[in-house]
């Protein structure tokens, strides 16, 4: 990194922290600290919702996902707009009518205290671990690029987030997310422009698109129906809608964002804008990854994008063999480049397309085979070595090909994304800890000042927990998938509890409580013992809670008092 990159990165980090502390103000009551005084307009709510979901993992791992597996990951988001509509109709007006601070408060009114406590507990486990992953991702970048110690990097990132989130609470989180969204847009836009201008002079954008398409990297929609296939139109629309309903409707890190809106109208508009913008945004990020793939068909990529693992195997007793594989890989990608140019020529002339396409595919397969040998060699020397380099693909491109200044800007964007998501997570974890646990179960009746102080303390403690988990998160493969798999283990059950509360009048708290425990065991069983794709866990967990609660209800007998439903 050049000095200019350092200046850009340091300035952006300082700006975010100072801006967060300044705009957060100094809340003296819990509504100010936990709900931002309910003063946000829909634009801020929308950006806050989007910035909370799109962490650094989104911008680092998603392009790598497209590089390795194509654009079919976009289908994961297709259920999101449906969820935004459903939540605008049901959850938003209900939460406003109940005047709640956290989503879990609703469950006590509808069911009982133990169901509220169980759901809050599931949220705290899941979101606490996810907050660790959110801090881990940018720390990974700095440790790889700059050789910083991973622990120090995690501490620096986590520490910056803790400073302004503890200082200004929800208001600081939401206001800073607007600034962070602008930095992210600038950084990713700059990377895309440089990528296009870095293509060889004789390769146009359309040529790059053609090569990516012929390599299966523009496979945005898959109509097949296969429960074991992670990303299809159906798993995205159905499983993705359930996941989004659970995430946006019951995860406090998102509920808190739209509860900070001035009114039901402002919150609804924020959610609907997210429903319109999220899918195109993810498509653009994946397209960037597909274009990085096309770029590396004309410029030689490294045999493995993780420089730390590469350096380790080079220095080991397998170094000579690895060097030979690198030479063979260089020759194979050279041949692939020639085949790519021949393919473009054939596509333009219209003659010999099939042969050119077959030759290009065979050249690509030969290069992939050599790369596979190198990964196998790496793993034979160190079985703990991570065989996935998806997270390093985009990063590697940025560092090698972006000019001075823009590297710092892209890194600032990655930091902004990570800080925006993790600050919302810490804010929500603190809210749930104080409102659903401390205030409800441990110390009711204390003063406002006391609860604000405990909220700040909870923010610091959850930040420390996230930092500790982040230090152990290095071996989870593709980060974006790790986060979504982790969420899917819990979200279906949580959503089932909420849907039972919204729509199923015939079930009581005890039946739902028992059903939720059984459903969670079922989901974990699916994860451990079946090959069912993780998006379906959300459907399984949700339906299991509702069906089992209806089955258990006659056994547990008495009904809990009914307070409110979405249709009321």
């Amino acid at each position: 990194m050049s000095q200019l990159d350092w200046v850009v990165l340091a300035s952006a980090l300082l700006l975010m922290v100072v801006y967060g502390v300044w705009r957060g103000g100094r809340s003296t009551d819990t509504r100010g600290f936990l709900l931002g005084g309910r003063e946000m307009r829909w634009g801020t709510v929308a950006l806050s919702i989007m910035a909370t979901q799109a962490s650094a993992i989104t911008f680092l791992s998603t392009p790598g996902q497209a590089y390795a597996d194509g654009m079919r990951f976009v289908q994961f988001y297709l259920g999101l707009p449906i969820a935004m509509i459903v939540l605008s109709i049901t959850a938003v007006p209900l939460y406003y009518r109940l005047k709640i601070f956290t989503a879990y408060e609703f469950l006590e009114g509808r069911f009982d205290l133990k169901t509220r406590a169980l759901t809050a507990f599931l949220f705290l486990i899941q979101r606490g671990l996810a907050a660790g992953l959110t801090i881990f991702a940018p720390s990974l970048i700095l440790s790889v690029i700059l050789g910083w110690d991973m622990r120090v990097t995690i501490l620096v990132i986590g520490g910056l987030v803790i400073v302004y989130t503890t200082s200004g609470g929800t208001r600081a989180v939401s206001r800073t997310q607007v600034l962070q969204a602008a930095i992210i847009l600038a950084g990713m836009g700059a990377a895309f422009v440089v990528l296009l201008t870095s293509l060889p002079a004789d390769v146009s954008l359309l040529d790059a698109v053609r090569v990516a398409g012929k390599s299966g990297r523009l496979n945005a929609i898959d109509l097949s129906f296969n429960l074991n296939d992670r990303y299809t139109l159906w798993s995205g629309l159905i499983g993705g809608a359930f996941l989004a309903l659970s995430y946006f409707g019951t995860d406090q890190s998102q509920v808190q964002r739209y509860l900070s809106g001035q009114s039901v109208t402002q919150s609804r508009l924020g959610l609907l804008f997210n429903g319109m913008a999220k899918v195109p945004m993810q498509f653009a990020i994946l397209f960037l990854g597909a274009m990085v793939f096309a770029f590396y068909q004309f410029k030689a990529p490294p045999i493995f994008f993780d420089p730390v693992e590469t350096a380790r195997v080079r220095a080991s007793s397998d170094g000579v063999r690895f060097g030979e594989l690198e030479s063979r890989y260089g020759e194979a990608v050279g041949a692939r480049e020639r085949r790519a140019r021949e393919l473009l020529k054939a596509l333009k002339s219209g003659s010999g397309r099939e042969e050119a396409q077959r030759a290009f595919a065979e050249a690509g397969a030969r290069a992939d085979a050599v790369r596979g040998e190198a990964i196998a060699l790496m793993r034979s020397g160190d079985p703990r070595a991570n065989p996935s380099d998806t997270n390093y693909v985009f990063l590697s491109f940025v560092v090698k090909y972006l000019p001075a200044g823009l590297v710092g800007l892209v890194l600032a964007a990655v930091f902004a994304a990570s800080m925006s998501a993790s600050s919302a997570e810490l804010n929500a974890l603190a809210s749930t800890t104080v409102v659903d646990v401390y205030r409800r179960l441990l110390r009711p009746g204390a003063g406002e000042g006391h609860y604000v102080l405990v909220s700040r303390l909870a923010t610091v403690l959850w930040g420390a927990f996230a930092i500790t988990f982040a230090e152990q998160a290095g071996r989870l493969g593709s980060l974006v998938e790790a986060v979504n798999i982790l969420g899917s283990l819990f979200y279906g059950t949580i959503l089932g509890i909420f849907l039972a509360g919204f729509y199923v009048r015939r079930v009581s708290g005890t039946a739902v409580f028992a059903a939720a425990i059984a459903a969670e065991a079922l989901v974990i069983g699916c994860f451990l013992f079946t090959g069912v794709s993780f998006l379906w866990y959300n459907v399984v967990g949700c339906f299991a809670v509702i069906v089992l609660a209806l089955l258990f209800e006659p056994w547990v007998g008495a009904r809990a008092p009914h307070h409110e439903t979405a249709s009321a």
Binding site: R31, S88, R97, K99, V209, R439
Partner: protein
């Protein structure tokens, strides 16, 4: 201190089951004729994106 309904929030309410505020008005959206119209716009945008992505996939595979 007022209620969230008038935008001037008060302190953390008492713990325990919360009774709903029945007087919250369902305001029309500031643009578009109704909330139903806005929901239809979001749904149609999703449908259009799926068709577009499918055409994109088929044209370039």
């Amino acid at each position: 201190m007022g209620s969230p309904k008038d935008g001037s929030p008060g302190p953390l309410p008492e713990p325990g089951p919360r009774s709903p505020d029945p007087g919250l008005p369902d305001e029309p959206p500031p643009f578009g004729r109704s909330w139903g119209t806005l929901y239809a716009v979001v749904g149609c945008t999703l449908a259009a994106l799926i068709v577009l992505f499918y055409a994109f996939t088929r044209a370039l595979e």
